[in-house]
């Protein structure tokens, strides 16, 4: 099909910095207490799951967020959606309703605002209530919303959303167990989109799916974004998947952002040694290309006791004394290209195409 959609916000991978910000995250911190055993046990420390993270998500873009275990990427998404308590920072949402201070919302006003931001889970099996029909699952965000909608209006919206997600009307009467993994993920997507949210967090939304099905769901997410102009924060550990769908990509490591750049710039000219190491670790589909991953020494640090200075210094092949003593600033090193490394200008990781 060569049909072209009218698209007021073209989704090019060069970044699209002309777009206004939908979401501004400033100095976000999420710390979880570690307690000893027992009811009145004292707090023994804290996991700095997200530690002073700042970025913006632009209207209509997909911002990819990648990271390994303990990077805090999932917690960033949950914090924005107000699903975990935030320790400090500020999140501004500049949607159609004007600017909203997300972390200031409480009680009824928070509940009312939830329809503007939704979450698509990783596990379509676990996230759907087995006792509800597909119609009721998809309709729930509308029925739980603050303002009353007529049942006929809800039905119309559910049918319309289901159609967009390539589910047919017959499917709506059934229960989720009757569906395959890919179909269940489409149900999860329909449920997230039924309230016409401006912002959707996709948290490992295709990670549990087989490759042949995963491609279908990625296509669906891209199509829906084009039709509905939804903004995505796409969180995943799989860099290839993130590269496929994202306008820009942010890389996290042990609670901090290491790098953020337009997808093409990040993949062709990574500026942070960690980003470069991540890329080198991906097994290439071409067996004639030598697989020479950078040998990172040691393991990912525990976010409960992160190393001083740069979080990556314990494994970085370029680390110097300065890296062990001084935390690198989060700064712009190229157009729309942010990085947290003292030596970003000195290191050249340009990748051959």
């Amino acid at each position: 099909m060569t049909e072209s959609h009218p698209d007021p916000v073209p989704a090019e991978r060069t970044g699209g910095s002309a777009r206004p910000d939908l979401l501004q995250v400033e100095h976000l911190q999420v710390h979880f207490p570690i307690r000893g055993k027992g009811l009145f046990a004292r707090q023994r420390g804290q996991v700095r799951a997200v530690d002073d993270v700042s970025f913006a998500v632009r209207r209509g873009e997909t911002l990819g967020l990648v990271g390994e275990s303990g990077s805090g990427k999932t917690t960033v998404g949950r914090a924005i959606l107000r699903a975990v308590p935030v320790t400090a920072g500020r999140v501004r949402f500049r949607g159609d309703q004007g600017e909203v201070d997300l972390l200031g919302l409480e009680g009824e006003s928070l509940r009312r605002f939830r329809k503007h931001m939704q979450l698509i889970f990783q596990d379509p099996y676990a996230s759907l209530n087995p006792r509800m029909t597909v119609r009721d699952i998809i309709a729930e965000p509308l029925e739980a919303g603050a303002q009353k909608m007529a049942k006929s209006e809800i039905d119309d919206r559910v049918r319309e959303t289901a159609r967009r997600c390539r589910l047919n009307l017959e499917h709506l009467r059934r229960f989720p167990h009757a569906f395959s993994g890919g179909q269940r993920q489409r149900i999860g997507i329909a449920r997230a989109l039924v309230s016409s949210p401006e912002f959707v967090v996709c948290d490992e939304s295709v990670s549990a799916l087989d490759v042949s099905i995963q491609a279908d769901i990625l296509n669906l997410l891209m199509d829906l974004q084009e039709e509905l102009h939804t903004t995505y924060l796409f969180i995943a550990h799989d860099l290839s998947v993130v590269a496929q769908i994202s306008t820009r990509v942010a890389v996290m490591y042990v609670g901090k952002l290491m790098e953020l750049a337009p997808t093409d710039a990040l993949f062709s000219r990574p500026a942070h040694p960690y980003t470069n190491a991540l890329f080198s670790a991906i097994p290439h589909l071409d067996p004639t290309q030598a697989f020479e991953p950078l040998r990172l020494t040691g393991e990912i640090p525990n976010p409960a006791s992160p190393p001083p200075g740069c979080r990556f210094q314990t494994r970085c092949p370029f680390a110097e004394d300065r890296c062990r003593n001084e935390e690198p600033a989060w700064r712009e090193v190229g157009p729309d290209h942010l990085v947290a490394c003292h030596f970003a200008e000195r290191l050249d990781f340009t990748r051959r195409p």
Binding site: A11, E12, R13, E68, S69, S180, G181, G182, Q183, D210, V211, S212, I213, Q214, A215, D216, L218, N219, M222, H237, D238, L239, S240, V241, A243, Q244, I245, S246, T247, T263, D264, F267, A277, L278, F279, S280, A281, I282, P283, H284, L285, D286, P287, T288, F291, P293, R295, L296, E299, I300, P353
Partner: protein
Amino acid sequence: MSPPLLEVRDLTIEFMTDEGRITAVDHVSFALERGQTLGIVGESGSGKSVATRAVIRLLTDNALVGERSAINLTRRDGRQVDILGLASGSSELRQIRGGEVSMIFQEPMASFSPLRTIGTHMVEALQLHERVSKAEATRRSIELLERVGIADAAGRFRQYSFELSGGMRQRAMIAMALVTRPSILIADEPTTALDVTIQAQILQLLRELQEEMGMAMIFISHDLGVIAQIARNVAVMYLGRVVEEGPTRDVIFEPRHPYTRGLIQAIPRLDAGQRRLTPIGGDIPSPLARPSGCPFHTRCGERLEGRCEARVPDPREVAPSHVVSCHLHD
């Protein structure tokens, strides 16, 4: 010509379940030569894990193995045995399992008892298969723990698996599997649960160890990229059947089966740009509703009406060692 190290012939495995009889592995044959790595790639329900578990007879009680199936292993002393013909409690099976054929899994916790230390596991495994003193077994175990990259190996030797991090546990499991110097290592998605930087370390380690010890390896993965980097030959499985097999580079550069082609096209690429992917249409059928004829015909865009749903295609060699089961190549 001497027989291959391992020859799986006409392997069929069915499971009796409450919902009916499920065919997990359907007339699968493959061979493994000494020192070689065979990759097996497949998605959910492909039967890749079940087929390889049969090699060490690690099947549940409700499994039925086909009467004509055989798994012939050439033992260290040169004798040929059909592993499927051995009695389940026999000493020969015990010698083979964990001695000549070892297995590592996605989840290393399953390989370790929480009640015993890493060292106890390794020493017991070694003493079960070789006549060695405890001191000698301890020395060799610690040496191997060091070799797989575990810092303070002597200290870790006395620890329990739950005290180690994920990457360390995976290394300890590899050390335990290799302590008896097996001639075949079966690796079932051993890096799937790991972070990508840790996965790269483990893949490198397995490649080095394989070369040093001269063992053959069957490496199972859903990730064709991992297979491309570790296996010289690959078998592509779909719904219990091998649909294509051959040298990995031939299969990746010139896939002949529509399923293999679809699988390769569906993989997202780093350098691809925000383009649409080409998914394989439809869903993987339920094992309870196996399609007739070619198992892929329900999703295949090149289906030949009247042929593909009617008859199972025979394997055909389309290039040297490159074998495809597809009616398009009849």
